[in-house]
């Protein structure tokens, strides 16, 4: 294990930036989001939850997929993916354990057959440096999904305390990054990290949502859960905005749209939200006409449909962003407590 003094972190960023782009939590206009690092940017590793999750690194909110040139009756399809070849490799820095787990959830969707090449190209050229949590808060419930916030995976795992950032490589990619910044690192930190982990774990045990009961969310109960009458009451205050889906690290629904330029057409994809009224709208009819149905879709997807499709893995990681950000304080925890199982008081 290595460590680096907090004062030298800027050197570390600069060193990484020499060979790779660096994507890191940065404060802008008061809010912390992942952004490309540059001299003078205000990095905020201490922030527990960035507003948007790091999923936008691999699955950006909007992304050009291809272009079309039309000439009379003819169409030419232009593959824009070549730009990836010229792209620098990236280091994604400061990913929390829950967000790392979320990337694994997205991997199952985008790297499953047929592979999504846009996602894959970004994913392959990125080295992920995770950061353990030391001050979880009341909205955190990652423990429920078997996430260890004190020991996130990733290519490199780091821990932060008042003086140092501790560094441990886990994979080949991680070793390569370590070699690159070796000159800035010094050995040590095992005891400090172990102490911090023990302290944090004790806090996590005491968190109000750490022991939610998910036992009822199984594929066998799909229809029973779908038909619960509680959905009506749970969703009545829902505004139908997309806040929960856009801050969610695992929400992966997208829309594909065309934009006409002066020269041709850009086909791009962008995040979409199952909370929106036009999500399932067709030329004739809509399969989900009420907000209750849309609300139910979102939580059934996270807790029942996704696990049924991908060997039991939930597509919620307990980051608690929706708990903090829902304008009307509706969230997945309230759904779990209502429908999850007997042990949710």
């Amino acid at each position: 294990m290595y460590r680096i003094s907090k004062e030298k972190l800027n050197d570390l960023y600069a060193k990484i930036n020499e060979t790779s782009g660096l994507y890191i939590p940065v404060k802008r206009a008061g809010e912390v989001n992942y952004a490309v690092w540059g001299e003078g940017k205000e990095v905020s590793l201490e922030t527990l939850k960035t507003v948007k999750s790091p999923k936008s690194m691999f699955f950006p909110q909007t992304e050009n997929m291809m272009k079309f040139k039309t000439d009379g009756k003819n169409i030419e399809v232009i593959d824009v993916r070549e730009q990836f070849d010229e792209r620098r490799p990236f280091v994604l820095f400061g990913v929390k354990a829950c967000d790392y787990k979320a990337i694994e959830v997205l991997d199952k969707v985008f790297l499953g057959d047929p592979v999504d090449s846009y996602y894959k190209m970004r994913r392959e050229t990125t080295t992920i440096v995770t950061l353990a949590c030391s001050r979880p808060e009341e909205s955190c419930f990652c423990k429920v999904f078997d996430v260890d916030a004190t020991a996130p995976q990733g290519d490199v795992t780091t821990w932060l305390d008042a003086e140092y950032l501790y560094w441990q490589a886990n994979t080949e990619k991680g070793e390569a990054l370590t070699a690159l910044v070796q000159e800035l690192l010094e050995e040590g930190g095992e005891t400090e990290v172990a102490t911090q982990q023990a302290q944090t774990k004790a806090v996590i045990e005491r968190l109000p949502f750490s022991n939610l009961d998910l036992s009822r969310f199984t594929p066998e109960n799909l229809n029973a859960l779908f038909n619960e009458k509680e959905w009506e009451e749970m969703s009545e205050a829902c505004l139908g905005c997309g806040t929960c889906t856009f801050v969610c690290p695992t929400c992966q629904c997208f829309d594909i749209r065309d934009f006409k330029t002066n020269e041709g057409v850009i086909r791009y994809r962008c995040w979409d939200s199952c909370m929106y009224s036009d999500f399932t709208l067709m030329a004739h009819g809509n399969s989900r006409t009420t907000q209750m149905q849309r609300f139910r879709q979102r939580f059934m997807h996270k807790l029942v449909y996704y696990p049924s499709q991908y060997d039991g893995t939930y597509s919620c990681v307990g980051c608690g962003r929706c708990v903090n950000k829902c304008p009307q304080n509706l969230n997945i925890v309230k759904v779990i407590k209502t429908l999850g199982g007997k042990n949710n008081d």
Binding site: I75, V77, N227, F254, D258, M282
Partner: protein
């Protein structure tokens, strides 16, 4: 560069046929004049007009047709409206094939088959029917019941009358909703007609048409003694990607684009009622 299913191929429209006042059938080949890709009956493809949008359509032509693909498209939204205005020579983009096909090589083999279609619902069935006709000796008796609002709304009526109706061992029953001048065939809704015909419940049935027709026809079939496990239908929901990733065409834990559009009635029974 690795393959990307979301990037379409360019196709050229080589023939446009006006079937009914609001349905046209488009024949499409690749820019090299060859068929764009192979498919199985019941599978779909994403057809797009750049700058307007992309939509999922079932491939109407039979896989046994080695020269081209056909799409029967009903005018009902912004993309289909633009497509309807297209002429021969116009290029469009196509990607696919997507979805599960009818089990023509498995469950259908050796069985007597009953096809029931309403309106544009014939589009996906035409592909299977022609496939079955091509491999005629692999299957038993074929009965086709097809209905539409009026005689002008019967899709592919020419092919039905000149080819299907003249083949031995294929029974075709046509019906229209209301009496019409120049029509001496059966008049009445499909569900009622199916019950009237007193069909053999040991046949394997395939239903396709508007949801309301499917609902009542299915009830009729069950009354006649058909088993749900031998009744198939297709679903249609909003789709964007076609490969189970964009997240909108699901019914419960199944994606219509990937796990459908062909569903056995017993499968549908296990899914929540949201389609």
């Amino acid at each position: 560069m690795i393959e990307e299913t979301l990037i379409p191929k360019v196709g050229v429209i080589t023939d446009v046929r006006k079937d009914t006042p609001d349905v046209k059938t488009f024949r499409v080949v690749g820019t090299d004049g060859k068929k764009l890709f192979q498919h199985m009956p019941g599978q779909c493809a994403m057809v797009s007009v750049p700058g307007v949008g992309e939509c999922m359509f079932s491939i109407t032509s039979s896989p046994t047709n080695e020269e081209y693909m056909e799409f029967s498209i009903k005018k009902c939204g912004c993309v289909t409206e633009v497509i309807h205005a297209m002429e021969v020579g116009q290029q469009i983009t196509v990607r696919g094939p997507y979805g599960k096909n009818f089990p023509v090589e498995e469950d259908f083999k050796g069985k007597d088959l009953l096809f029931i279609a309403g309106g544009i619902g014939l589009a996906p069935l035409r592909s299977v029917i022609n496939y079955v006709r091509h491999y005629r000796d692999h299957y038993g008796k074929v009965v086709i019941v097809y209905g539409a609002r009026s005689k002008d709304d019967l899709v592919d009526i020419e092919e039905i009358q000149t080819e299907w109706m003249n083949e031995p061992n294929i029974e075709v029953y046509l019906t229209i909703d209301r009496p019409q001048e120049g029509w001496d065939g059966h008049v009445g809704f499909v569900p009622a007609y199916v019950k009237e015909l007193g069909l053999d419940p040991n046949m394997t049935a395939v239903l396709c048409g508007p949801p309301i027709m499917i609902k009542f026809t299915l009830a009729g079939l069950l009354e006649l003694g058909f088993e749900k496990s031998r009744v198939y239908t297709t679903l249609e929901l909003r789709m964007k990607c076609g490969v189970g990733k964009c997240g909108r065409c699901n019914v419960g834990d199944k994606f219509v684009c990937k796990d459908g559009p062909v569903f056995r009635m017993t499968e549908l029974d296990e899914l929540p009622d949201e389609y």
